[in-house]
Symmetry: C2
Subunit: 373 residues, 2 copies
């Protein structure tokens, strides 16, 4: 079967939604943060550790897995779940974001057919099309596949975005036509930058194609402002159906997650928690802390008091600081566990708040404590 989204309730005071997604790999609750396993591994973590963080769905990258090891090898290994030993649901992106971002400084040629670009690994010439993206995702056998969309730069003007939105719609249709995996849902992506009419047009036309869920894209490409992100959500959500899941792509900052949830978003993904972990940074309810700071040298407390993660239950800041400062990967691993757990715990708290119709209170209380400096 494909996934099924069930809306349980909406908070009385805003658009925040409580729901769940039934999948072939279990039912997961929303709002939810999805850890990213770019190359079929959530960096440095075992599947058991990711699961212990409370993860529902994880995300894997079509572009990266297409190049290495190749979708045919993953298929021969029984699909992505079996390949990486992950028994929960998996969402694959379309590869579009990577084609546009990794090839940022390289020549790329966007045509109606697809995108001609050079591999970031060996410079070989490649062509990714809507059909190819779906074909790869079909073979990867993820539970949720994404339509191949154009990810225009934040600097793109209205005219560019208008053409881009129209092309993305044509690409979505082409992808849908070749999508064949009966156990895989396919999501459409709403684009249109910060422009109300383009978002409306993109959302309405995408919804007409009747996808299994909808994403809001173009908010985490290369430095879009927070305001533009919130506009993008506000201008898209009203045109998305209540009975389908809504996914804000590439967003993992705690504040942005809360802003997204308030506006009616259900799922989020981002490399942020694992990336900042490798650099020694940890989320806490009072803001991010940097374990490289020498003030933690002899600090016998855990990264965050009251946190129930493996890192906080067993290790001191002093030890983690040591590991980070001597470049031992176990340090990044511990902080990755903490940071993922932090975001998932955030969504757990949010779900309870929505149940109690007090999401806005929860959000205000969180923001009061969380310092961004």
């Amino acid at each position: 079967m494909k996934i099924k989204y069930n809306l349980i309730k909406t908070d009385k005071n805003c658009k925040a939604r409580l729901g769940n997604i039934e999948t072939n790999y279990g039912t997961v609750e929303t709002p939810m943060f999805m850890p990213v396993g770019t190359r079929a591994t959530v960096k440095s973590l075992s599947p058991e550790e990711v699961l212990e963080c409370g993860s529902g769905i994880i995300l894997a990258n079509t572009y990266h897995l297409w190049l290495r090891p190749g979708e045919d090898i993953v298929k021969k290994c029984g699909g992505l779940h079996k390949f990486m030993n992950w028994n929960g649901p998996i969402l694959t992106d379309s590869g579009g974001f990577q084609v546009f971002s990794l090839a940022k400084n390289k020549k790329k040629d966007i045509t109606e057919e697809g995108v001609h670009f050079k591999s970031h690994i060996d410079g070989s010439k490649l062509l990714l099309t809507p059909e190819k993206s779906i074909e790869i995702q079909n073979k990867l056998d993820s539970d949720i596949a994404m339509s191949f969309d154009e990810c225009p730069p934040a600097s793109a003007d209205y005219e560019y975005l208008k053409n881009s939105v129209e092309r993305t719609l044509r690409w979505a249709e082409r992808g849908k036509k070749v999508h064949k995996n009966p156990n895989q849902a396919l999501f459409g992506i709403v684009q249109g930058g910060p422009h109300e009419d383009l978002r409306k047009f993109s959302a309405e036309e995408t919804v007409k194609m009747n996808f299994d869920g909808y994403s809001i894209g173009g908010v985490a490409n290369d430095g879009e402002s927070k305001e533009d992100m919130y506009k993008a959500i506000d201008y898209s959500i009203p045109y998305l159906p209540e009975d389908k899941v809504r996914y804000l792509m590439g967003v993992g900052d705690p504040i942005d997650i809360l802003e997204g949830i308030m506006r009616g978003v259900d799922i989020f993904d981002c490399v942020l928690p694992t990336r900042i972990a490798r650099h020694g940074q940890a989320f806490t309810h009072t803001g991010k802390i940097n374990l490289n700071n020498s003030k933690y040298k002899e600090d016998l407390s855990s990264v965050e008091d009251g946190c129930d993660c493996y890192c906080c239950k067993n290790y001191t800041k002093a030890y983690i600081r040591h590991l980070i400062s001597v470049d031992e990967t176990f340090g990044g691993r511990l902080l990755s566990i903490h940071n993922i757990r932090f975001l998932i715990r955030l969504t757990e708290e949010v779900r309870q708040a929505i149940k109690d119709d007090r999401f806005l209170d929860y959000k205000r209380e969180f923001l009061n404590k969380y310092k961004t400096k």
Copy 2:
């Protein structure tokens, strides 16, 4: 209490010994391989994973922990066990090996007082003495400390080695004098290169000082031949007491471990299993395999059929090869688990063989299968 070695039995057909070591952190069986946690972490692994490999004692490096984070910080954190969340026994080396090997290409000045050298991190001038080494290890609070010895290069001539052995004896005595930790055993180290008379002299004089255990050093510095290693063991063992544990330092090749056990060695340590893992290599009973090899691209079998480790129970060669080839640390982590488990399983099999007085048969059967090419 300090450790207590109990000799259970010796194989009828050779010097291989079955025994155990009582420590404040539990009783561990010998012969045994000790994984290395250089900087208070067995690279990429959690303590739970190391324990699940069947590890008894782990080794930590005095030199590295002295420089970072510093022994005073470890002490403030409650000692090494608490600092790194390891509830089993820990052996610390003296720092001597690192001073001699890391400073190999740098100017160092060996005096009667100790070794003047430059930090491999920032080039600052340092002095490590027998007293300082013991003082650091006292603070680290390991279960077993090592005497500070000189590790002469394999190229050293007889005259050099003779002087070195004598100095090492004087250093051992100075270290023993300042050793104060009542819960920490102190081992003496036998040196003397491949020379029978020097090894005899070194062993006899070291044993006169009545240490809690004895190491055979100078066999894994910088390219000593296998023959010289076996000579070093053969010439040292006869002078070591039966009721004390014997430790061959820096040895982790499966064949060398078996050769050592046959000659009466009880414990071994080496970075080999974790180091080769990070480069994609895995031990198997038919020899080492290299997961970088493209022939494993679609190989759905585990690293070693019949292995009971987490890696082999859950992952295919194809997946591990993928992780290694895209430089994901989870690949090295999985192979580290396998390689450590392999060596520990080897010693488990050896212990059973000694029980049955068939160690020599076991060794022959192992060597028949294990290809070194």
